[in-house]
């Protein structure tokens, strides 16, 4: 308690030197929390969007389907196992079929993936009901807004859609854009053309076939055993987590540099403090302070920089971080270029664990940094210190 009081008085007495260090440390501290929060938010939002619009709570894949092998796509469809029929009928599972095709907007060829989906499905939060259009003249299709923009079409436009049926024969029909959906998930948008699954099965002569089955995110019941391979949401979002982790490592280097600068300032202050206060140390020892207490006092003085940094960061940083978490961070460029599912506005997530963990890391590193130059006091002779020498 006494050394706490003394350390506080000494730090207060050191004036601007203390507060500069504290400010730099608080900046590093806030940057760590901000970046970590941003990556946490990025990961959680990406997973939520994927779950909501594409992956559900998990998927069953037909044996041939491999999203990392485009050459497997033409054959990636199989008859849906009967074991899934009850869950499909009750709307818990919805089948989707991926099929290669090409479109000719303004007579320009563009290869696309046809995504056959039940217009009545409720598993994915996308407006597939727009596909509930009956027409003998054209095929009703739905595009994402990015896709529509990239091929310069809008709702109501008609262009040619070409595909090869299950027997390998080429076929083509006019397709009409019945809806352009706005979605934050670019992976279901760019290069994709949504079509009624039954219609797709019909025109490709692949009756009752699908590529994968998506499970409703709210479903918590038993899942049937099948030869189709089950992939949990956790497994499906591995890429997102890996990507965020990679970005996080890049961020770690940045806040590592920031922390190192701040710690260097604390270290420098400690070294300078020990050098300038040799006589003071001698006096303290003459007054009856032990070397151990002296070491504790100087380490605590250094460590308290960390404590004050936390307090200062809370004062000016908490409102900033709160505002940031509420208003979000609008991405300055088209987020489609990021190569992962991202919303246009990112909302950082600052968990209690993140904040407490960062506080503990800052306090421990500052205390260790403060202790390193102080160790040499263990050999300090009072007579040398009083003469202004270090022994």
């Amino acid at each position: 308690m006494v050394i706490l009081k003394l350390a506080y008085r000494n730090l207060k007495g050191a004036g601007i030197r203390t507060w500069l260090n504290v400010f730099v440390l608080s900046l590093a501290f806030l940057s760590i929390i901000y970046l970590k929060g941003l990556y946490n938010g990025m990961q959680d939002q990406s997973i939520r969007i994927s779950e909501d619009t594409d992956m559900g709570s998990g998927q069953y894949w037909c044996a041939i389907y491999d999203p990392y092998d485009p050459l497997s796509l033409p054959d990636a469809h199989e008859t849906i196992p009967e074991v899934f029929n009850p869950l499909i009928s009750s709307g818990v599972i919805t089948p989707v079929m991926f099929y290669q095709g090409a479109i000719y907007p303004d007579n320009r060829l563009k290869n696309i993936i046809l995504r056959g989906v039940d217009p009545n499905q409720q598993v994915m939060n996308i407006p597939t009901s727009e596909l509930r259009v009956e027409s003998n003249e054209y095929l009703p299709i739905m595009l994402g807004h990015r896709m529509a923009k990239s091929i310069n079409v809008k709702a109501g436009d008609i262009f040619t859609l070409q595909w090869r049926d299950g027997n390998g024969a080429y076929d083509a029909r006019d397709a009409r854009v019945v809806a352009v959906m706005t979605t934050t998930n670019s992976t279901i948008d760019i290069g994709n053309v949504w079509v009624d699954l039954a219609l797709l099965q019909d025109i490709t002569r692949l009756e009752n076939e699908a590529t994968l089955l998506i499970i409703d995110k709210s479903y918590s019941g038993e899942l049937p055993e099948s030869e189709w391979e089950y992939h949990s949401l956790f497994a499906l979002t591995k890429d997102i987590r890996d990507m965020v982790e990679m970005k996080s490592i890049g961020g770690s280097i940045m806040y590592g540099v920031l922390m190192a600068l701040a710690l260097l300032a604390v270290f420098d202050t400690q070294v300078l403090s020990i050098w300038r206060r040799r006589r003071e140390m001698g006096t303290l020892m003459a007054l009856g302070m032990t070397r151990m207490t002296l070491i504790k006092l100087f380490t605590l003085e250094g460590g308290m920089h960390g404590f004050f940094a936390v307090v200062l960061a809370t004062i000016y940083g908490a409102p900033l971080l709160y505002l940031n978490s509420v208003k979000g961070l609008t991405m300055p460029m088209d987020v489609d270029n990021f190569g992962m599912v991202l919303p246009q506005t990112l909302f950082p997530e600052y968990s209690v664990g993140l904040i407490l963990g960062t506080i503990i890391i800052v306090l421990i590193t500052v205390t260790i940094t403060s202790f390193i130059p102080v160790r040499k006091l263990a050999k300090l002779k009072p007579t040398d210190a009083l003469r202004g020498k270090m022994s």
């Binding site: 003394l6 008085r9 207060k12 003459a286 009856g288 302070m289 070397r291």
Partner: protein
């Protein structure tokens, strides 16, 4: 040791390694200092006054021989025990005052009491008493930088005396002061010596200080060459 004998040295030798050789700072010093004495170690620079004061104050240890202070054998004390002895029984006054610059006068004087673990009420009373002894009650809230040399040394005296130690060791306490201030602080210490029966041991080569000493121990080249009581 007798009850009145506070300090006893026997064949005290202190050497330092200097440029690969041993420099003998104290050679077979034998002195006894009793309770309540007002004594001075005098001699030219390099005669061993400060070294002797440091050993008696447990800031240093003898190379050979023995030093007993308040029944504690200085040579056999651990660092912690030596710190405790200084904390409880010995006050120091330095030539350069050695006040803690970031503390106020009050806090400087209070410092030894904090180390002793005194309560806040006790500390306040004892510091106010000490401020009164040295006539600085009005300057309690000032910082050392705002004080004159004489005032700073009076604060140092108050800090040394606040815990009412058995022994006060003063190393050249008037070296940085003018004649008027020197007499003032010496009178203050003389008064405290008389009132509190505190033993004072000075290291000095200042004639003004010697006038006040009841006993003068002269050192030359680390040896006691004269020991006279007025």
């Amino acid at each position: 040791m007798s009850e009145t004998k506070l300090i006893h040295t026997h064949d005290l030798v202190k050497t330092y390694p200097v440029a690969g050789c041993e420099f003998v700072a104290l050679k077979n010093v034998n002195i006894d200092i009793g309770k309540g004495e007002f004594s001075g170690l005098v001699g030219p620079s390099g005669s061993g006054k400060t070294t002797l004061l440091n050993v008696i104050g447990s800031l240093d240890i003898p190379t050979s021989g023995s030093v007993t202070v308040l029944d504690h054998n200085i040579g056999s004390l651990t660092h912690k025990q030596a710190a405790m002895l200084r904390n409880q029984h010995i006050g120091f006054i330095f030539q350069t005052y050695n006040l803690l610059p970031v503390y106020t006068v009050f806090e400087n004087i209070e410092f030894p009491l904090l180390l002793l673990g005194k309560s806040a009420d006790d500390r306040k009373k004892m510091v106010n008493d000490a401020l009164e002894w040295v006539g600085l009650s009005a300057k309690a809230d000032m910082r050392p930088a705002q004080l004159s040399g004489g005032e700073s040394q009076r604060v140092a005296i108050a800090r040394a005396m606040v815990k009412k130690p058995a022994l006060v060791l003063a190393d050249e306490p008037t070296a940085n002061l003018d004649a008027k201030n020197s007499h003032h602080i010496l009178e203050t210490m003389e008064k405290l010596n008389a009132e509190l029966q505190t033993t004072f041991l000075f290291a000095t080569h200042d004639e003004k200080v010697m006038q006040y000493m009841k006993r003068i121990i002269s050192l030359e080249d680390g040896k006691v060459v004269k020991d006279e009581t007025k």
